[in-house]
Symmetry: C2
Subunit: 445 residues, 2 copies
């Protein structure tokens, strides 16, 4: 018990170490000749980049997953995705529980009874529930996909099961890896493929705390603020994303224009849902309109739900900041969401996560601009895609120089563990001043 | 007295009305035939755009100031700049004083004695001091420029005085209008022109509250937090901006590469200082590197000091948010700058101003992307330049369709009065809840 508590009290270190270990193991495995298809040359950077991309459930690639890797290599990638995705989901959930206990302490020293630390029993129960839930959902999606691959595309049952399994794992973990050279562009109009993928990535992307609350069957009016923000925020962003994608890529004569209307709708579903943050390519982002590219960047940056397999600054962070602004504009001293006051430290955490992310994205884009001559919009798209562990690309990943690819690896790592651990590490590491300094009010704006 | 107080209690309305009135008068004046050079066609959009740009001290233009307008028209423009610049400086100072009084009320209902409202005497004194200070600085700069124009460029004394006066007013008010077709590109290496311009725009851009404190002769360790943030922040950003400009445009073979080293240094001074937020063009921004363009966008967005002639979200807003993040990362419950605690409502105001600005910039850029086929980086540059009332442009202003130009006008207006009034209007309009709702802590990140 003390060990667990000690380890959990340094979450950034724990998560980082676990990730680094997995990345070393993954890189070594992918460097083995048995991992590569015949004739594919060994390359440390390719192995490392693919490992980081899979571990951080991003899906950016510098080689074609379908042709560069052997079936063994593809199994390794699937394993990295599964361990990385569910691992972070578990740790983030544990951290959120720990932080909630600690935040009580921070907000009010008197309310020490409120501070419930986790014991080993809690940890074991949480891990088992998450793994059980994840495997159940993945199995269900795998069955759906397998049936479609076998019956709709004439695959042999063995191949269909393997493809169903891989894409179920990839979609629930929001990883965006696919076993096809064109990712899932070939299925853009097929609801029986796009639908299960969307279902899996939405469930994974909501995050475990929300899933648990939804599965508990509580009526919507009893939901916690976190679940309400995540569910309504996710739904609204999906609708906006789908409409925007349909307008700019379908109606306006873009990458969906060649499809009949019903399939355009499926394509728009994919285009609106995948950027948050599965990262499957349903269309070729090298050919989308600049408007789609910009809107996709915003959606990617916001990302999905906390403590799940999604990336980005998270829907709750975004909506919390919106609520703070709304309260400020209305002159309300408290930030209120659905009859609940949002704790002040949480507001500050949201601010910190969002602005550090903005700074990181701008700074990294600038570095890539210095390294290459690729148009800046594409570079910004790539940076946000890496940071938000989305994996969409206009196709420039492999063209970047080694330093640029390493930067993307760092961004994926920071995006996957950074937003989660910054918030919780901060919250767990609160000092107390025994005196308060005099107050001052600089002019703003 | 009650009138003044009532008017000041609706600052957004007052400032907006004053601005709208000035814009109508300016547009009518610029539409008069006497305002245009011979042969220049009458155009409502041109007159309105120029009026808004001058009133909001921005400097974006759709016609050449040197050749489209008559001397009378140029005098009208100078008048609009002077009234718009000093007017907002005065109102923002009054609002800041009022807000400080009210903020005390808001933070602690018990400390009502702390709430000092302004009376008419205060208002008169503040207005007189600001106008006096502005005219003194402008006169000094005008003399320097006049001497250089007459002695260095062989202008007649009459022309030299007129040019000296116009550019002194334009620079102190951070307006960026110039009487030359190439703006001030022709003077890029001339320290005797660039120097006075920089001095004037820095003084105007610091804002009156800071100027007053600096002129009072208080030692640096006694400065208010606001002055410290503004002075150190401005200095640091200048140094970074100058170094970056020198690196990307001089050393790396850009728009300054044709100059000898000493003049490159002067050009880098201009390139680093002008974007915040004078907006004189010392080089042709259509030909700068993408890196310079991106860095300039960041500098423009941050802007200058509060309650002055500068635009942007303001240096204090930016640094306050940085301080909040720093406190959060260190686990400090209070945000402390130089032995002073920053009031919590001020933190929330900074957040609101900055994030509304980000949203406005992103949304407006997206609209322009839909309206035109101009590269998105140039459109983003133009939008930030308008919103931060900078006036730098890659030369696309006149190419934008009418709807795009109207959007820029709205952005200039929102940027000039929005950031100032949002913060103060909010602060003056605080409700009080007589009960508090239960607290909750959504997961962030
Ligand atoms: K992904
Ligand atoms: K300006």
């Amino acid at each position: 018990m003390p060990l667990v508590r000690r380890v959990l009290s340094h979450p950034a270190r724990l998560v980082s170490l676990g990730f680094l270990l997995q990345m070393v193991v993954g890189t070594v495995l992918l460097l083995l000749p048995v991992s590569r298809a015949e004739g594919a040359p060994a390359d440390l950077l390719v192995a490392a980049f693919t490992t980081v991309s899979a571990t951080c459930v991003t899906g950016l690639i510098t080689v074609d997953t379908a042709t560069y890797w052997s079936p063994f290599g593809q199994v390794v990638i699937m394993g990295l995705i599964q361990v990385g995705g569910i691992g972070v989901m578990t740790l983030a959930t544990l951290l959120a529980l720990t932080v909630r206990g600690r935040l009580g302490l921070r907000t009010s020293l008197a309310a020490q009874a409120d501070s419930h630390s986790l014991d080993l029993g809690d940890v074991r129960r949480v891990v088992l529930r998450i793994v059980g839930l994840a495997l159940t959902i993945e199995a269900f999606i795998a069955v759906l996909l397998t049936l479609r691959f076998a019956l709709g595309y004439g695959m042999g049952w063995g191949t269909a099961v393997w493809h169903g399994l891989f894409h179920a794992v990839s979609s629930f973990n929001n990883a965006g890896f696919a076993l096809y050279t064109d990712n899932v562009i070939g299925f853009v109009g097929d609801l029986w493929i796009i639908g299960p993928l969307c279902l899996a990535l939405i469930l994974g992307g909501l995050g475990f705390p929300v899933l648990r609350e939804l599965l508990s069957g509580a009526p919507a009016r009893r939901w916690s603020v976190h679940t309400r923000l995540t569910v309504w925020g996710t739904s609204t962003l999906f609708v906006l994303g789908i409409l925007a994608f349909w307008f700019f890529e379908g109606a306006a004569g873009g990458t969906l224009a060649h499809l009949p209307p019903a399939q355009q709708a499926v394509g728009a579903l994919a285009g609106g849902v995948f950027p948050r943050t599965a990262g499957f390519n349903a269309v070729d982002y090298a050919h989308v309109t600049e408007e789609t590219e910009a809107i996709t960047m915003v959606l990617m940056f916001i990302g999905g739900g906390s403590a799940g397999t999604a990336g980005g600054v998270k829907v709750t962070t975004f909506l919390l900041l919106a609520a703070v602004i709304w309260a400020e504009v209305r002159g309300e001293p408290d930030v209120v969401i659905g009859q609940r006051r949002v704790a002040a430290p949480v507001q500050r955490q949201a601010l910190t996560v969002a602005l550090l992310a903005v700074g990181l994205v701008i700074g990294s884009t600038l570095v890539l601009m210095m390294l290459t001559d690729i148009p800046s919009l594409d570079l910004g798209f790539e940076v946000i895609s890496a940071f938000a562990t989305v994996g969409l690309s206009t196709g420039i990943t492999a063209q970047l120089p080694a330093a640029g690819q390493v930067l993307l690896m760092v961004l994926m790592f920071l995006g996957r563990v950074g937003t989660i651990t910054v918030a919780s590490a901060i919250a767990l590491n609160t000092r107390h001043r025994h005196y308060r300094l005099p107050e001052e009010r600089p002019i703003v704006g």
